[in-house]
């Protein structure tokens, strides 16, 4: 265990799970949407629903959605900053069967009209897990380099993607594949040991059956 996980992270209080983790969830969603958020529907489940105001979970998520890190002092004022910037934010409490007690459901719209839905949990010590993305069950943390590919379920897509990474000598540490049903919407989540160059990501976007490619860089802390 890293010694700076014992003394650290540097963060805005009061709670590593309810504040720092929440900010990370917001930031991860913003990175996945890959553009400024104009509208956010935020649904809190479980312990989040019970204590989100007192823990500043609401401010932390919104701050994250605006691109703030866990140690950004502006997290405290994020609700008014969001209002000023014209971001439309609504909060609600939801009940998601079987979900981790610190789970949030986000429905986002970006400046271009792009939409993203995500369910994520803050699982302790500021660590997070993404459990659902655009309706598909997934399971990743965003702690490592993460490549997310949204594709149509078809033969050869996985081989083409892993082949492109192999060409760059990038090692795949972990890989998961999800689909709604055969031949329908599908998603690949790959945790990588290295970051692919921009042109590789661009070439992946042009692969047959690939609809969207998102890359999350390893989290610095």
């Amino acid at each position: 265990m890293d010694l700076f996980d014992l003394i650290g992270p540097v963060m805005i209080g009061p709670s590593s799970s309810h504040t720092a983790g929440a900010a990370r969830i917001g930031l991860t969603a913003r990175l996945l949407l890959n553009e400024d958020v104009t509208r956010a529907e935020i649904g809190f489940h479980g312990s989040f629903a019970k204590t989100y105001r007192g823990h500043g979970t609401d401010r932390a998520i919104v701050g994250g959605l605006m691109g703030m890190q866990v140690d950004d002092a502006r997290l405290r004022d994020s609700l008014s900053l969001a209002k000023e910037s014209g971001m439309d934010v609504t909060f609600d409490t939801v009940n998601i069967r079987g979900a981790h007690p610190n789970t949030v459901r986000l429905t986002l719209t970006g400046v271009s009209g792009k939409e993203l839905t995500m369910e994520a949990a803050s699982v302790g010590g500021g660590n997070i897990e993404i459990h659902k993305l655009n309706g598909l069950n997934v399971d990743f943390t965003g702690k490592e380099h993460t490549l997310i590919i949204h594709q149509k379920d078809a033969p050869g897509v996985i081989a083409a993607v892993t082949g492109a990474l192999a060409g760059q000598e990038i090692n795949i540490a972990n890989m998961q594949v999800y689909r709604r049903k055969a031949g329908a919407d599908a998603m690949m989540v790959l945790e990588l040991d290295g970051a692919p160059e921009g042109y590789v990501l661009e070439s992946l976007r042009h692969l047959k059956a690939v609809q969207n490619v998102t890359f999350l860089k390893r989290r610095p802390c």
Binding site: D5, L6, I7, M11, T19, R53, D71
Partner: protein, 288 residues
């Protein structure tokens, strides 16, 4: 790699746990020892800033349950009236200031958690101001604390939801006790003995946050746990040996944590959180 307290003592050899911890962290991250020390130096700076933020008398948390109390505590200390005296008194004032800074959404360093973030900075910063401990010595002491924290996290827990407050304030007190012992010239063996004494004193402490918030009783427990850290260090520095192997105390803590009912593990359903007056307190103060 994770190490037990006993392994840290062996790794220290004729040197200190601080040196062993810096070396270990550098090896594992590929950084130089100087880079590793410099991260800890910036954490120390952040601890100092958190105390200043927390001492503001106008500070209030979102819920209204905390803020401004450390300022009262500081005033009495400045009048020279604290029963604890200036050294422990200052450590307790700073522990409270840090915990209140955290409760009020200020910037803090988790040590090892946000809920218990006041104890270690309180102890270290008081030693810097009252005992002329240098920045470099303070940084080394923080590495001793981090090493002890690692042994606790991997053999027991540092999460209130898992092991109760003994895992949060207990762990922080153990880390601070080891750091204080180091600063006073104690051996590696004495550092881990002090950590074990601190855990012994806080064994079984439950996590019962009022309204589920990191405020009551968390802020006050940061203060008391700083006291336990100094007491534990003083015992070992007097030549008193911990009669139980320190790692066994950590395993006992794990066992006790597992035995705690869920109502006493950060759910806000038992202990202080279940007291009848809490309802009125929350209604008066919060938007919940």
């Amino acid at each position: 790699m994770d190490f037990t307290l006993n392994e840290w003592v062996h790794m220290a050899g004729d040197g200190s746990i601080a040196q062993a911890a810096v070396k270990q962290q550098a090896e594992e991250t590929g950084m130089t020892e100087e880079q590793v020390r410099s991260i800890m130096r910036s954490h120390l700076l952040c601890m100092q800033e958190a105390v200043q933020t927390g001492l503001d008398e106008k500070l209030r948390s979102v819920s209204g349950l905390s803020g401004g109390q450390a300022a009262l505590f500081l005033k009495r200390m400045k009048e020279g009236k604290l029963l604890c005296g200036n050294l422990l008194g200052k450590a307790e004032v700073y522990a409270m200031a840090t915990a209140e800074c955290n409760a009020c959404m200020g910037k803090i360093v988790a040590a090892p958690t946000a809920g218990a973030c006041g104890i270690l900075p309180g102890a270290i910063l008081a030693m810097m101001e009252e005992k002329e401990v240098s920045v470099e010595e303070a940084v080394e002491a923080l590495f001793v604390a981090a090493a002890v924290g690692q042994s606790i996290a991997t053999q027991a827990s540092i999460s209130g939801a898992e092991g109760g407050c003994q895992a949060e304030c207990g762990s922080a007190a153990a880390m601070a006790a080891a750091a204080l012992t180091y600063l006073e010239g104690g051996s590696a063996r004495q550092c881990v003995d002090a950590a074990a004494f601190a855990i012994m004193n806080l064994l079984g402490l439950v996590c019962d946050p009022v309204g589920g918030l990191v405020e009551v009783p968390c802020v006050y427990r940061n203060v008391g746990s700083a006291g336990v850290a100094f007491t534990s260090a003083d015992m070992v520095l007097s030549g008193i040996r911990c009669p139980i192997a320190p790692d066994e105390v950590l395993l006992a803590m794990k066992e006790v944590g597992d035995a705690l009912p869920s109502s006493l593990r950060e759910t806000g359903d038992g202990g202080c959180a279940a007291c009848p007056s809490v309802k009125a307190l929350l209604k008066r103060n919060t938007m919940m």
